[in-house]
């Protein structure tokens, strides 16, 4: 449990920081590296990466979108799918889901890599 919290917090903090300068896919690198160095069962590694970036991206998307009173988000929500229609919350959740899945699978790979080397 300690390692789960550690890896989640580390992924979240590092991703949040590096994302400011580097392309979006840096989240995959960070989640993979963290999972490599903080030993966990593969399932927990996935969950940890997912939770970290999901939380980060939902929050960041919300902050960006509230900067202009969600003007653009409201339009994109209508534009995207019936699922997001009239719901910017759903749009933010989908944003988080995309980031979460990428980071989750990257963490899973990192953790499996440890096994492979051992």
């Amino acid at each position: 449990m300690k390692n789960f919290i550690l890896s989640t917090v580390a992924t979240l903090a590092l991703c949040g920081l590096l994302q400011l300068f580097l392309p979006w896919w840096i989240i995959a690198v960070v989640a993979g590296v963290v999972a490599f160095f903080v030993p966990q069962k593969p399932g927990f590694a996935f969950l940890s990466g997912f939770v970290a970036v999901f939380a980060l991206w939902v929050t960041y998307a919300y902050l960006l979108s509230s900067a202009n009173n969600h003007l653009l988000a409201e339009k994109v929500a209508v534009l995207m799918t019936d699922l997001t229609k009239n719901s910017i919350r759903m749009l933010h959740l989908i944003t988080g889901l995309v980031g979460g899945l990428v980071a989750g699978f990257a963490a899973l790979s990192g953790s499996l890599l440890v096994k492979l080397i051992k």
């Binding site: 202009n68 003007l71 653009l72 988000a73 339009k75 994109v76 209508v78 534009l79």
Partner: protein, 744 residues
């Protein structure tokens, strides 16, 4: 270079010279409207398929085949020779590119991300393309093929009845009695009468509802202040980002304010501290179609004056997204490009149709607008117009010093009246229908300081029939707005800006005022369902104003369009495109041609007469409305019925302004229908040197900006903003939102 943005995000650019000024205009316009500028030039260049894929390929082919890029290239070459214009246009392009270059992909405007592509370098050819795009939008007023089709189907007598060159109830732009500049010498013109009879053939689809515009200026004799007031409202497709971008440009040579066209330097409709000007479309026929006969399938030669003449070929390469390169061979003749042939526009035809168009003539319209922007008086205005070719416009003018004027300017071919040259399909196998020369600029219709104290135009005939040059007047000219405008201006003295504001938003429907009593008198009330009587009562009581809350206006519009479609159903023939007569000739038919063959509906067995037509369409109107809205009581008032929308260029509803509530309609000064309307309203009062402006959009093209649609409601209400027409940045005071300094 300093730019001050006011509380509506209007940039006020202060520069030390004109090159810097246009650099900054380019930079700022790109900053707020980059995607729009580029997609419009892609449209004009026939390159939409590079972004949208195969679904726009046919549209792109047509754009190339009517010679848009070809003529833009010629215009660019022509402008290059004028060092002065070239330098300023290049400065503008540099400004646009300076903005694009500092963008990284994450900064690209939203639409680039949505459609997944990147902006490209801005070049002078794009400025030329934009002006050609405007020319194309406003040159659709020819019906050569449609007229010929009508005659071949219904005969010449019917044609003369429904499509007269001149009609009774119209007040030409240049008041009758104004002396004309007579031709110096009679031009050699053929007098042989001929007309090509037709088989089904391709044509360019014309818009159902013709867009138009209003402009007028009153002299000091009719205003409260004793100084002229000028007004302009060009009606175009309502779009987001708006077609216009409002700007204030100050250099040692000029202090000019008004509407700019994103992608092109200078102000198009605006004012400076000495003069004001505005535009309406002339609608003159400046496009002719010629039938071409090729010697053989190679199409290397075509017949002309009994000889075989070499043709030129231009391969148009379409880079279609997701498909690769599609090549299209376009043949060029002495008349112009062959638009329709075996490769395009028709399934099984041997017809080859070449297009001749004044926009194909190299010209430098930028210079006209530059000279307006720094113009001081009437002479400057006339000199500026001498550089103007296409799209032909009625340029209204007012000077602070007191002059008012209007001039229809463009290059117009001298046409043969005997053969009504240009009204029908022309022969391309000889010189008989060829353009010989152009009407000299000084002979173009002009009115300066007329005795009535005002000048005006609303897409009506520019002249009465005494004008020494022939031009076709078929189905082109608007009959209603001009009379309402002239009546209001003639009846009122002590006019001020508030009067003009109300006037631009005037919803009086003269067409209904004239047609409704005729329709009601032709109605056979014994054949009307008694449940429909309340509708009849509504219409009888109606004041003929298409105000937002009028219910009768909804009923009238539905009845009129139902009747119109019923009456002219014979002309909805997909194989033989025809031009349906306008509202005015429709009314004349109801009044004077009561036994017309057109009252019968072809699809039904019984033979209907004029009373059946009017009565049955009344019943049909109520039945259709009841079906559409559930009950008669649920039929909405006019603003809801019309349901105006300002559509994003991608046509995505999410990015559009929907359900804009206002009045108006075609034929009304406030010419707003569901998709078109006054795209820019401007009033310039030289009494206190103030400008009042509004347009249905916002200064920012970014759908995520608070300034994307912030002016739409103001516009719908008929309200205005006062332009911050300042001389120095300091005068801006509390209106300043922020300022930026640009160091190249």
């Amino acid at each position: 270079m300093q730019v001050y943005f006011d509380d509506r995000l209007v940039p006020h650019v202060f520069a030390k010279n004109d090159a810097d000024l246009y650099f900054m205009q380019g930079y700022i316009t790109a900053k707020y409207r980059l995607w729009q500028m580029e997609i419009q030039t892609h449209d004009a260049a026939g390159r939409l398929s590079e972004i949208a894929g195969e679904k726009t390929l046919e549209k792109d082919k047509l754009t190339r085949r009517i010679g848009m890029p070809w003529s833009a290239e010629a215009a660019e070459e022509y402008i290059k020779k004028d060092e002065f214009s070239r330098n300023l246009i290049e400065a503008y392009c540099k400004g646009v590119n300076a903005y694009i270059q500092q963008l990284s992909p994450k900064d690209y405007p939203f639409e680039y991300k949505l459609l997944n592509y990147e902006p490209e370098e801005w070049k002078p050819i794009k400025v030329a393309l934009l002006l050609k795009n405007m020319a194309n939008m406003l040159s659709v007023y020819e019906y050569d093929i449609e007229n010929a089709n009508f005659i071949s189907k219904f005969g010449e007598a019917e044609y003369r009845k429904l499509y007269p060159d001149w009609v009774q109830d119209e007040e030409p732009i240049v008041p009758s009695g104004t002396p004309w500049v007579q031709p110096l010498s009679a031009k050699e013109l053929s007098t042989s009468e001929h007309r090509t009879s037709l088989s089904a053939m391709a044509h360019i689809t014309k818009p159902d509802e013709i867009t138009g515009s209003n402009n007028w200026a009153v002299s000091g004799s009719k205003t409260k202040s004793g100084k002229p007031i000028l007004c302009n409202d060009p009606h175009l497709k309502l779009s987001l980002p708006a077609i216009w971008y409002e700007m204030h440009l100050v250099s040692p040579n000029m202090n000019v304010y008004g509407a700019t066209l994103p992608g092109s330097p200078a102000v198009i409709s605006g004012f400076n501290d000495s003069i004001a000007w505005g535009v309406t479309n002339a609608g003159r026929d400046v496009r002719d179609w010629y039938t071409i006969q090729f010697k053989d399938d190679s199409r290397n030669e075509y017949q002309y004056n009994g000889q075989w003449v070499k043709s030129e070929k231009r391969i148009e390469k379409h880079y279609v997204r997701g498909k690769g390169v599609v090549e299209d061979e376009v043949i060029y003749t002495r008349f112009g490009p062959v638009v329709f042939d075996k490769n395009f526009g028709q399934a099984s035809s041997t017809q080859n149709l070449a297009m001749k168009w004044t926009a194909h003539i190299p010209s430098n319209e930028f210079k006209t607008f530059y000279l307006f922007n720094c113009g001081k008086n009437y002479d400057d205005y006339i000199e500026a117009l001498n550089h103007y070719t296409c799209p032909a416009q009625n340029f209204v003018f007012a000077a602070r010093s007191g002059d008012i004027a209007i001039k229809e300017q463009g290059r117009f071919p001298i046409r043969n009246k005997a053969t009504e040259q240009g009204k029908f399909l022309s022969q391309g196998n000889s010189a008989v229908d060829e353009w010989v020369d152009f009407i000299p600029n000084e002979a173009n219709p002009t009115s300066k300081n007329p005795a009535r104290g005002f000048v005006s135009s609303a897409n009506q005939h520019p002249t009465d029939s005494t004008y020494p040059y022939y031009y076709p007047g078929v189905g082109v000219y608007e009959n209603y707005r001009n009379r309402v405008i002239n009546q209001l201006l003639a009846d009122n003295n002590a006019i001020d800006a508030d009067f003009m504001k109300k006037m631009q938003d005037n919803n009086f429907n003269l067409q209904a005022k004239e047609a409704l009593p005729v329709m009601l008198s032709l109605l056979d009330s014994s054949k009307i369902n008694s449940a429909f009587y309340p509708v009849l009562e509504q219409l009888r009581q109606w004041d003929c104003y298409n105000n937002p809350n009028s219910l009768a206006a909804s009923f009238y519009e539905q009845w009129w369009t139902t009747l119109y479609d019923w009456l002219w159903d014979e002309m909805s023939d997909p194989l033989y495109p025809m031009k349906k007569p306008g509202a005015y000739m429709t009314l004349k038919t109801l009044q004077n041609d009561t036994a017309s063959q057109f009252f019968d509906v072809k699809a039904t067995r019984p033979k209907e007469n004029i009373h059946d037509c009017v009565t049955l369409t009344f019943n049909l109107m109520v039945e259709n409305l009841t079906a559409k809205y559930g009950s008669l009581e649920s039929v909405p008032v006019w603003s809801l019925f019309k349901d105006t929308r300002v559509e994003h260029l991608s046509q995505q509803p999410a990015l559009s302004a929907l359900h804009v509530m206002n009045g108006g309609n075609r034929g009304i000064i406030n010419a707003t229908n569901s998709t078109h309307g006054p795209s820019w309203r401007m009033i310039v009062d030289f009494g206190d040197m103030k400008g009042y402006v509004v347009y249905p959009g916002g200064q920012s093209g970014n759908p995520g900006s608070a300034y994307y649609t912030n002016m739409v409601d103001t516009w719908a209400k008929g309200a205005y903003y006062t332009a911050n027409f300042i001389k120095t940045p300091e005068e801006m005071g509390g209106k300043k939102l922020f300022s930026t300094t640009y160091k190249p």
